[in-house]
Structure formats: C-alpha cells, structure tokens
Symmetry: C2
Subunit: 189 residues, 2 copies
DNA sequence: AGCTAGGTATACCGACCTGTTTCCTTTTTC
DNA sequence: GAAAAAGGAAACAGGTCGGTATACCTAGCT
C-alpha cells in the first residue's frame, strides 16, 4: 500500500521536529527532506501549527498502539505487564534516533496553556496514565489510581533522564522502583 | 547593591527563555524587555548561544542554592529531608510562573549531544541526582545510589507532569511513592 | 575643561521565516 | 483522448532572525 503524500509529510515532519525542535525546523527544509512542494503542504494544512498538531495527534495513536502491543507481547500476567512497561520503554530509549518524548518537547516550546498543541500533549499524557492505571487495576492492585499515577511518574522521569542525561539505563532503575512500589501496595501496611 | 547590567540581562533572559522558549525568544524583544542595548549584549556575550549557556549556568547555581536551603529549612532529620525534597518541588510547581525545568526545555530545543547547552543541562541533572543520593546516604539508607537514583526519577517525573499535564499535585504523588520506596529500602526483603 | 569608557539608539546587513501565487507538468478520471 | 485534478518548481511578499556598525550621549576621572 502506498501511503498518501499527507501521511508521508506528517511522518517526515515528526522526524524533523523530534530531531531539531519545532521552531528549529523550517518549512522549506522540511519540504525538501520530504520531497514535497509547498503547495501540497498548504493544501492539507492551513499553517505550520496545524501540521504540528497533526504530527502530535498521529504520534499519539501510533505510539499508543505500538506501546500496548509491545507490552502485551512481553507478558501475559497483568502484574508482569505493569513491569513490562519499563522494558518497552528501555527499548525505546535505546533506539538510535531517540529524542525524548515529543510531547514534552512540544510543551517546552509552546507554553501557552490554551493552544491546540498543549491540548494534544495533555491528552497524550492522560492516555498513558490511564493505560497504566488500567494495568494496575487488571493486576488487582489496591488503589490502582494511586499506584498507577506513581508508576506513570516513574515512566516520565525515566524518559526525561534518558534524554537529558543520556542515561539509557533509567528505564531499568524505574523498573526496580516500580517493583518495590507494587510489592508495597500488596503488603498490608 | 546594584546588580550589573550583565546580571540583569541574564535574569531577564532567563524569564523570557522560560516563558517563550529559546528559539521563540528573539534578541530584539529580549533587549527591549531588559531595557538594554544590543551593543551591551554583544559586549558581554559573543552570541545568543553564549547568553543561553550563561543563563543555564547561572540558573544551575541559583536553583541548587535555593533548593538546598529550602529543603534544609523544612526538616532536620535526613530521612525527612529526603521527603522534604518533594515539598519544595511542590512549592516550585505552584509558583505563578512555573514553566517546568528550563534544562529539560533546553534539551528539547537543542538535541545535539555535543553542544555546551547540552553539557550545562547534563551537569545540572547530575548535580541534583548527586544531591539526592547524598541525602539518602545521610539517612543511612542501604544502597543510597540505587534509592537516590529512583527518587531522582520520581522528581523528574513529577516536574514534567506538573508542566505538561498541569498537575501541580504531582509532587505529592511522588512524595508518597518516595515514602514507600524508602520504607521498602529499610525493610529486609 | 577635556579625555575616555561605557552606554543608548538606530540603521543596516544578509539570511531565513511562514505563507501566497504563478506557471507548468504529471497523473488521474471519465 | 480530452478534461480535470493534483502536484512540482520557483518567484515573491512581508517580517523577523542574529549580528554588526555608526552616531550620539553621558559619568567619572584627571
């Protein structure tokens, strides 16, 4: 199947935005890399911001689908799946073109709280947090909302640490912390 | 005491960079806000990048000093200081002009691994991690390097969550997770 | 008074920015 | 095979970018 010019453009834009930032990526250079003309871009998107939002929305669904698939492929038991989250993250950190979480990066450049860009970022983080809480519930952990939120924080922290400090091992540190937290949750205080 | 034009410029630059990003902040607008001429800027810094590095290096020392002072003011007991870290972070998140960690934001825009900007960011994260590990050692926790790294991940995660999701409560979620992790570390497995 | 260091203000430079338009070619569709 | 839709290439517009250079203006020192 041949992907549409639009999808191709969004894909290339995602790579460029991830590698050089949003302000740092110019339309001209982006189009040259994609082999697509300006006319085509502005036929599909009204502005650069609209392209950015399309990139983020597309990445949201792609990342979610891949992430869940990988987690489910790694473990069947719900509690193990909760830990597998960090193994999948570890693989992600080790990808040769890992530039951190594109949503975090987007918020860094677009701090205005009301923009569609910020909304897309909030939605993604909400989705991931909900996913982890759902896993915690499947694992029959008490207070899945609490432990899920804690594990989500660990995942966020590992992601930025892998990016900023270049510490690819952060995922496994987080995994051991997650193991402790899960064990604590199962132990009556 | 009257602060120098240079320090004033760096201070204003820090605010502008935090609020609008690095690429998003133009030299002209920045100078207008600071009430300083271009000649003065380029008498002190050779380029915008050099100004950015000065901002980051300055923020590194200021943030560290303030953070440690606040932590030490909140608690005397080493173990409580480890938890107080998250209370200080909570106050930080609630500041009216909270734009997340400027070092994370900088890395989002400057991904090239060799730039002085990236170095400044890595140095800051290393310093904070070391500080937390030192607190864990002071608290006589076994394997302070391990638990310290875990708590550092929680702090990072809370910071980005407060920024991206606007969840100012993230610090307290992290604090409870930290409490569990510390308790686990003190309980023989 | 007069010199100097440091400052402001402003014009200017070339490059790049997002976005529009024009002209021409390719591809699809009937 | 002709009409129509879509796309490529490139010029263009108006602004802004980082950075330089020039002219004028003080404050402080001697």
């Amino acid at each position: 199947m041949v992907i549409s010019r639009r999808d191709h453009l969004v894909q290339v834009a995602q790579d460029e935005f991830a590698a050089h930032g949003f302000h740092g990526t110019g339309i001209d250079g982006l189009l040259a890399k994609a082999g697509v003309s300006k006319k085509t871009l502005y036929a599909h998107f009204r502005s650069k911001e609209e392209l950015i939002v399309a990139v983020l929305r597309g990445h949201d669904t792609n990342f979610r689908d891949d992430f869940k698939r990988d987690v489910e492929a790694l473990a069947d038991d719900p509690k193990e799946r909760l830990l597998a989250v960090f193994d999948v993250a570890s693989d992600w950190f080790h990808e040769k073109s890992f530039y951190g979480c594109i949503f975090i990066n987007a918020v860094a450049e677009y701090s205005e709280g009301t923009s569609p860009i910020r909304e897309a970022c909030r939605d993604f983080k909400q989705m991931m947090k909900t996913y982890i809480i759902d896993l915690a519930r499947d694992a029959s952990l008490p207070q899945p909302g609490v432990i899920g939120a804690q594990l989500a924080l660990l995942l966020e922290g590992a992601t930025v640490t892998a990016q900023v400090s270049g510490d690819k091992n952060a995922a496994l540190i987080a995994k051991e912390a997650a193991r402790s937290l899960i064990a604590s949750a199962l132990t009556p205080a």
